[in-house]
Symmetry: C2
Subunit: 146 residues, 2 copies
């Protein structure tokens, strides 16, 4: 048995398949974000804050898949740009509560339409059933214990 046969070709390798699929989806979204001078990470943060209200940084970290050191830096600029506010939690002074501002919400709402249109384009080509199936499988994979 050769080493080659022990390995999946990269096209069937799970990590790179996930990466490539993501690149396909993100390409048009990145175009949209570039127009509004927002990075992909800031977009994810705004979406999490829009959905969850005022939350602490660790929560954003988990939900938006950003490590805390990255988040610290990104939130610093987002606060300076008036997209979010931060305040120390009164109960537990280690925690910082983060909230989206009206300005931040406005950026989000002005672009959700475009975001939705991109999703719809993908849905039209793959079919709603397959896309749902894919999302189910991704959730399941995410829950695997490794």
């Amino acid at each position: 048995m050769t080493q080659e046969s022990q390995t999946k070709s990269t096209s069937r390798a799970l990590p790179i398949a996930l990466l490539r699929a993501r690149e396909t989806v993100m390409a048009p979204i990145r175009d949209m974000l570039q127009d509004i001078h927002l990075t992909e990470q800031k977009w994810r943060i705004l979406r999490v804050l829009h959905e969850m209200g005022e939350v602490e940084q660790s929560t954003i970290s988990k939900e938006a898949c950003l490590l805390l050191p990255s988040l610290t830096r990104i939130l610093r600029t987002m606060e300076a740009d008036g997209q979010i506010t931060r305040r120390q939690d009164t109960d537990d002074k280690r925690r910082t509560k983060v909230k989206i501002t009206d300005a931040g919400r406005q950026i989000l709402e002005a672009n959700l339409g475009t975001s939705l249109a991109i999703y719809t384009t993908i849905e039209e080509q793959m079919g709603q059933d397959k896309l749902d199936q894919l999302l189910d499988l991704l959730e399941e994979l995410q829950a695997v214990k490794v």
Copy 2:
């Protein structure tokens, strides 16, 4: 119709679902790579070179999902570390041909077993059918024109 209902919650948002799933799969692989002082990107490059033989940088870029500027830097250190060799193409002097060295191949082969074991763990938990189905759907998504 509120803005909220126009948006998928982030848990059903395709880009972040792909990202989270990938984080799950990559976590143990990153552990492995840290032990051998190799980054995830270098690992992907070695795998592509192992699979495809001597190729030019643009090909690596496409296959390993790395932009050319990143690749330039990474290959520079990999060449210095003796994991790859580079030479100018004789037919088209713009092109650089990259090949894996024996040392590079050795790193790869020494760790393919661990890599395979991680994949097997996931396969055992999700089932082979679902995993195949997921890979099919990912390939299909990757082929969508956006």
